[in-house]
């Protein structure tokens, strides 16, 4: 990622080169974003064009920087949860889950199975929601606007589910350290079953409109190819990595949160172009349906919070009536849970890739340092390599297939 100064340097270098050999035609430096319909947020790209062909791309990031990592140092572990909503704001539930597991790893805490299963449902719902948006905007960026509306219709139902589960559609803040904010409400499971029954129809609709459509294939096949080696070198994760043919899914590779109990496949591509990324996302949605189905069929009963009075807030009824719980409650909120000192790294397979939290704790209620490894940030690095030599129209397709979120990239 280039700084302002570097971009200026590169611009002037390009101008000098341009003046050097006039016969090769004029190069054009064009700004794409931060306000552009297909940079999906506030990403600025400085493009060097020869006609419509892209000679160079310099992504300029940071327009959505809010200092989340610094903010974390000034609040308790629990208070940071709403901030994780705003990382990958297209899959807030998955971020909540990843953060909770990260802190629990620091604490050495195991959550009860019901909590694990609900968290699996959350993470997979978030995955479906994020991929629906990714595919919808992909369709829109190559010109098929109706696809976008069809997938958004389905996302709306996911938002209803989120609302039912945790009380908010977008900023869920659902998990707590050692558990969840609340148990599943009784009307949630029927709603979820209905949604799972309806979703394949929409996926099939998108299939009809895009998968075998020659125009779509022309726009995406062999566009923005990333080889296995390049992907590994850049540290790319998620569907983009898997589209290159590397079967690397943290849910399988380092199972966490009970994923080892579920039966699902990891889709991988063969070429690593935009089309493979699209296919991988489509298949991942189908696999997520399978996972959620298994989770709700085998949903364990019992507690949904770890029985740790010093970590999890006591039940409200007890707080209102018993002295000891009231004291715990106050200490827990004001001082935060007492974490041991140490360093842990936990990463989860988020819709966009590996979302990691590197926590440095010096004990006490707040993190000493919290580093977020955001998949969008890492994945976006590969853009210049992928875009070189393609046309502007291809760049749009590549951007859409990267499916990044600036909230997470800039943090």
């Amino acid at each position: 990622m280039a700084t302002e100064h570097q971009i200026e340097l590169m611009e002037s270098a390009a101008r000098a080169q341009e003046a050097g050999d006039e016969l090769r035609g004029e190069r054009m430096i064009i700004n794409m974003g931060p306000q552009h319909p297909s940079t999906h947020g506030v990403l600025r790209l400085v493009l060097e064009l020869d006609g419509e062909e892209i000679i160079n791309v310099w992504p300029d990031i940071g327009f959505l920087h809010r200092g989340d990592e610094k903010l974390a140092e000034n609040m308790t572990w629990t208070q940071f949860i709403p901030y994780t909503d705003r990382l990958d704001y297209l899959a807030p539930l998955a971020n909540n889950v990843a953060y909770a597991y990260a802190v629990e790893k620091l604490l050495g805490l195991e959550v009860p199975p019901r909590c694990q299963y609900i968290r699996v449902v959350c993470a997979e719902l978030a995955r479906i929601s994020s991929h629906l948006l990714g595919i919808g905007t992909f369709g829109m960026d190559v010109g098929a606007i109706t696809v976008f509306l069809y997938t958004f219709k389905e996302r709306e139902k996911i938002y209803d589910l989120c609302e039912c589960l945790c009380g908010a559609r977008f900023t869920t803040s659902y998990t707590r350290i050692g558990g969840l904010a609340n148990d599943m409400p009784p009307e949630f499971l029927p709603m979820l079953r209905k949604f799972l029954a309806e979703l394949p129809a929409t996926i099939a609709e998108v299939d009809t409109l895009l998968t075998r459509n020659k125009i779509f294939l022309d726009r995406t096949r062999d566009i923005g190819v990333l080889t296995k080696e390049q992907a590994v070198d850049f540290g790319i994760t998620g569907p983009i990595l898997r589209a290159t043919g590397i079967e690397w899914d943290l849910r399988k590779a380092h199972p966490y949160g009970g994923y080892e109990k579920f039966d699902f496949d990891v889709p991988v591509g063969s070429v690593g172009d935009c089309y493979d990324r699209y296919l991988c996302r489509m298949e991942e949605m189908r696999q997520s349906i399978r996972i959620i189905q298994q989770a709700i069929d085998n949903m364990p009963g019992g507690a949904w919070n770890a029985p740790e009075a010093k970590i999890v807030l006591p039940e409200k009824k007890a707080v209102l009536t018993k002295m000891e719980e009231l004291i715990h409650h106050f200490i827990n909120v004001t001082e935060g849970l007492n974490a041991p000192s140490g360093e842990v790294y936990f990463s989860a397979e988020n819709p966009k890739g590996e979302l990691g939290f590197y926590i440095v704790s010096r004990g006490g209620g707040t993190p000493h340092r919290l580093k977020i490894r955001a998949p969008s940030f890492v994945n976006l690095q590969a853009l210049p390599v992928m875009a070189k030599g393609h046309m502007i129209s291809d760049l749009v397709a590549i951007l859409a297939s990267l499916d990044f979120v600036m909230g997470e990239c800039d943090r």
């Binding site: 629990t78 904010a181 009307e187 075998r212 459509n213 496949d265 296919l279």
Partner: protein, 166 residues
Amino acid sequence: MLVQRPKLTFWERLYLPQVLQGLWQTLSHIPRKKFTRQYPEEKPPLYGKYRGAPELVRDPDGRVKCVACQLCEFVCPPKAIRVVPGFRKEGASDASVEKEPSDFIINMNRCIFCGFCEEVCPEEAIFLLRDFSVSGYSREEMQFHKDKLLELGGVREDKIQKWKNK
């Protein structure tokens, strides 16, 4: 599991069959039931325990439940709440509670509706109720003071009645 890249048949390579299928797909949507909601006339259904605007409640006796412990002020991640503690009136029926907020301000511009205040309140005095269209013309108007919050919150049933017998 390798995702299959389709091999297009001769006809599919001529663009037409998929375009025709797509056309049929979109056409079949025309008579379908519309998904959108005509908002101001048609209110959205709110599922589950919806987290709307945070508001203060009274118990069935009309007593302000908040005891100004300031736990919500402490926990609020965006620091939207400010509690000005005060004392209850001498000799009043709820005088045993001792404290109450002399003012309670929620800056609705900052509130992120996370629900932490409700979660930590040891008195069940603040709730995120179902108001989702909080709006105003000025920043001042968006500072909700105690009276407004109490008015919005109304009366809430209290099964435990913690202070009844103290």
